[in-house]
Amino acid sequence: MAMIFGFLYELALQGVQMFIVVLIAPLVMGVTRKVRAHLLRRIGPPLLQPYFDIWKLMHKEAVLAHNASWIYRVAPYFVFAVTWVAAALIPTYASGLLFSWSADLIAIVALLGTARFSLALAGMDVGTAFGGLGSSREMMIASLAEPAMLLIVFTVALVAGTTQLSSIAALFSTAAVGLRVSLALALFAMMFVGIAENARIPIDNPATHLELTMVHEAMVLEYSGRHLAMIEAAAQVKLVLYFSLIICLFVPFGMATGERSLAAFAFAMAVYLAKLFVLAALLPVGETALAKMRVFRYPVFLGGAFAAGALAVFLLFVSRGF
């Protein structure tokens, strides 16, 4: 009986984790937009606007092109589901959850790759120049970001001795790690990668719809109604996912790692949400300070992330091995 209860408790904890990332995601996006608007001396939409948007979109008729195939219709759900699964597997408020071992950091990154793959296909489905342009550029950005991401994983795995996010968070929330210039570099690289992957300025501008420089928005240009709602939601969840990843890898302090009481979890959840909103407010600060880049400056931008990751690995080798 106690065992079943314990199992259900763990399952509930996992469930909370799973649903919090989805439910909070529009709010996080709302905070980002609000802060950005304030920085630009605008009032900005209400914090809860993203929820209203999604609700509205869900009740709009979905318009499909005549030659849209099933891929076009399935992709939004698939992208959302995969992003959601990836986000649910990152420890947010507690480490060592029931299914936390079912995917490590590499697998989570690869899951995002699955989502990106299907979205890029959906962009090509109708057969417009915009869709192809978005897909093609999205895949280019991904191919530039991936090596940098691997080096980040390598750095973190070298410090922590594991790629299991739960274990990394548990280890890093203790002070045993010490001063690590490598981790700082990895964080730097991670921010670059996160910006590129989430289609934020200076790589992509989430606010434009009609420029040839846009990437993500061009890819999903044909979508409408509930399909568009799913894609928007997936983008929001992905942003939360990257924030959670940064929190989990670089500032896991306050995460519930040992004690399994409800109070500990509640406190950890509060800390997590606070960190999430701080990051959500910091993102537009960086964005307003930068200008959108030319497409063929991306390699330099992400090359910087790659160099930072490689340096992190080298520095770590030196400090470990000498």
Partner: protein
């Protein structure tokens, strides 16, 4: 040696290396000069920390020289040159940013490989500093050969010198006389360079050193 001593030294020396990369990464001259100033400040902090760890007070002098001369005076002078010559934006690269960065990373790996087996050089920290210093020197050289602009070449040269001082401060007991003379030679080099830059500018109306090649008749066209 305590772990804090090591970690902080690692942080500072690693920071210098990172700044060396930033020097390569920047594409505006004013930014390059600022990064160079930051590197000098990191150097002086690193030397100062060494003076505490090694209990070698004369290193403090080195640190102060580095801070004042290279952290403030030289960048200030360079900014003046840039302003006077009105060359705000040009960092002309011979090879593109990506390949330069990759070469730089390979150079760092090479430096580590070279220093790693040298067991005689002393403790872990010394060898680590030596590896970083060698990497910084190589990156400085790389910067000098991949940039056309005379000002960026000067900065490449100076960052080589930063690397030298980092190496020297790690290897316990470099006499102060050497320090001072190095510092002076660098200053004199700066002056020479400065005169040189102005002369190039006067004669060729650019600070692109490839103009000199043209003058020597080595390159007909670009």
């Amino acid at each position: 040696m305590g772990t804090l001593a090591f970690d902080l030294a690692h942080l500072l020396a690693g920071g210098m290396l990172v700044l060396s990369f930033l020097l390569l990464y920047q594409d505006r001259i004013t930014a390059v000069i600022n990064v160079f100033a930051w590197q000098a400040i990191a150097l002086s902090l690193s030397v100062a920390w060494q003076s505490i760890v090694q209990e070698a007070p004369h290193l403090v002098a080195t640190a102060v020289i580095a801070l004042v001369v290279k952290g403030f005076l030289i960048p200030f002078a360079l900014h003046r040159i840039v302003r006077r010559l009105d060359i705000h934006r040009e960092v002309e690269q011979v090879i593109g940013g990506g390949p330069t960065m990759l070469t730089g990373l390979a150079l760092v790996a090479l430096a580590i490989l070279l220093v790693q087996p040298v067991r005689e050089a002393g403790g872990t920290l010394t060898r680590e500093d030596l590896a970083f210093a060698l990497a910084i020197i190589l990156l400085g050289l790389l910067m000098m050969i991949t940039r056309r602009n005379a000002v960026t070449q000067i900065i490449g040269f100076m960052s080589i010198e930063n690397g030298l001082i980092l190496a020297a401060s790690g290897a316990k007991g470099m006499p102060l006389v050497v320090e001072v003379s190095v510092a002076f030679s660098v200053l004199i080099a700066l002056i020479v360079f400065g005169v040189f830059v102005f002369r190039i500018r006067e004669r060729f109306d650019t600070v692109d050193v490839s103009a000199l090649d043209r003058f020597r008749g080595e390159r007909r066209e670009r």
